[in-house]
């Protein structure tokens, strides 16, 4: 007999596995590529965008899941867009007023979140059909998965592009995080292609191909184990 708490934990674990790997916003759903390509010139910018998006994602999931009982399919899309846009504006205003230093660092990213189709995508395919707790966990998992891919892509572009890693992290996270800023290649002239959008496409292509290869290997190994057992 399985304990109900364990069932819920297993369920959450599956949601996180989906969000981070199996059904990752970028690597599997291929959504949110526009902000992804725009801001991943450095790992720090990727992290900033990821954190801001995660917050909006969770809040949107909560709100939409709570309202799912009264929203009809015919008007759901405009209602979702309205809610997400209002939420982003709200976050922008509140951050500007009470987290001014952070807003100066993240401010450029916040308007980009509205155009992030991943949030609308999750609202449509998950939050609007699921109980509140699952929707919130899914929003968090998707946000974490999005943040991870943004940071990885940012690092993959930043290291060959500028020779640094997490440049300007102290502006985003505070002076306590100055240790994160690494200069990997001193006196580096920079490799412009990686910083510009084509570099983002190239790096993303390699990451996607890498995931496919890894997934195929894992599937093959699982199949081999099954064969051996049978």
């Amino acid at each position: 007999m399985t304990h109900p708490a364990k069932l819920i934990l297993d369920d959450y674990r599956r949601l996180f596995r989906d969000g981070i790997w199996d059904n990752n916003v970028v690597m599997a759903q291929m959504l949110a590529l526009c902000p992804l390509l725009a801001v991943t010139g450095t790992a720090t910018n990727g992290l900033g965008m990821g954190l801001a998006t995660t917050f909006v994602m969770v809040a949107a999931a909560l709100l939409i899941s709570m309202l799912r009982g009264i929203i009809t399919p015919e008007v759901r899309i405009p209602v979702f867009i309205l809610l997400i846009a209002a939420l982003v504006t709200l976050v922008d205003l509140v951050m500007n007023a009470y987290l001014y230093e952070m807003h100066k660092a993240l401010g450029l990213f916040i308007p980009l979140i509205v155009t992030n189709c991943a949030i609308l995508g999750r609202a449509e395919s998950f939050a609007s059909r699921q109980p509140v707790h699952r929707a919130v966990v899914d929003g968090l998992a998707m946000g974490v998965g999005f943040t991870l891919i943004l940071v990885v892509l940012g690092a993959v572009r930043e290291i060959p592009g500028s020779g640094t890693l997490f440049a300007d992290a102290r502006l985003l996270l505070g002076d306590g995080f100055a240790w994160m800023e690494l200069t990997l290649i001193p006196e580096y002239r920079g490799f412009l292609l990686m910083i510009l959008p084509p570099g983002a496409f190239l790096a993303l292509g390699f990451i996607l191909a890498g995931k496919r290869v890894l997934d195929t290997r894992l599937a093959n190994r699982a199949a081999a184990v099954k064969m051996a057992q049978a």
């Binding site: 910018n45 209002a86 007023a97 990213f109 412009l192």
Partner: protein, 229 residues
């Protein structure tokens, strides 16, 4: 998932419009309330920010007054007016600061620059911009020392033709991947210096004439706004 049977009233157009309208109304109400709640705080933070930037473009060593309180509207040739912040040493105008705006890659770049009485740049800082994160945002002093390269320059030094980015044959560095942004800033600062040159006598002399009247009101203005400094 299971499809829940929809009550029949939900099929009506009226319900749809009421739902959409109701949610739009609620969202607007929440935003209006938040805007009213945060507006003053945001304005305060921006004023504080502006004061700090002002201190960076007019170093404390060249003045003994409060440049933020000592303002003057300069009528420019195109009919608009420009707010001038005057720094004084013993009543004489030792430097002025004013805003210039360049048309950046993604919207206006608002720049605050300080110029001393000889027409030399004391400091340049970007107040607001919407340039691409990671490329154009190197004009912020917190990210890159580039903006400091204007310090000590004037219209004659370097010669006028050299007031451009290297790509255009000037002396200023452009950034990797971003030429438009630094070009806009260089041009805006040069325009600012030209404006100073045009109105030099007005800017500096004006200060002397109106010194007593301009110095008189600050105590009343100062007390409620800046009790600490």
């Amino acid at each position: 998932m299971t499809t829940v049977a929809q009550p029949s009233y939900r099929q009506r157009v009226g319900y749809h419009s009421a739902l959409l309208g109701g949610i739009a109304l609620m969202a607007s109400a929440v935003l209006v309330i938040t805007d009213m709640q945060t507006r003053d705080t945001i304005a305060e933070r921006q004023a504080e920010d502006f004061r700090q930037t002002l201190e960076q473009v007019i170093p404390a060593s060249v003045h003994d007054n409060q440049p933020q309180q000592d303002t003057y509207q300069l009528q420019t040739a195109d009919g608009s007016s420009l707010e001038i912040y005057r720094a004084r040493q013993e009543g004489r105008v030792s430097a002025v600061a004013f805003q210039v705006t360049g048309r950046g890659y993604a919207g206006p770049i608002e720049i605050l620059m300080g110029v001393d009485a000889e027409g030399e740049v004391l400091g340049v800082r970007v107040l607001r911009h919407k340039e691409t994160p990671g490329l154009g945002d190197k004009i912020e002093v917190a990210r890159d020392p580039w903006i400091l390269s204007f310090d000590g320059l004037s219209l004659g030094d370097p010669p006028r033709d050299d007031w451009a980015v290297k790509k255009d044959g000037g002396i200023f560095d452009q950034f990797t991947g971003a030429t438009i942004t630094p070009r806009v800033v260089v041009n805006a600062v040069r325009d600012g210096l030209e404006l100073f040159e045009q109105h030099r006598s007005t800017l500096l002399q004006r200060g002397d004439e109106s010194a007593p009247s301009a110095l008189a009101p600050p105590p009343a203005l100062l007390s409620p706004e800046e009790p600490t400094s």
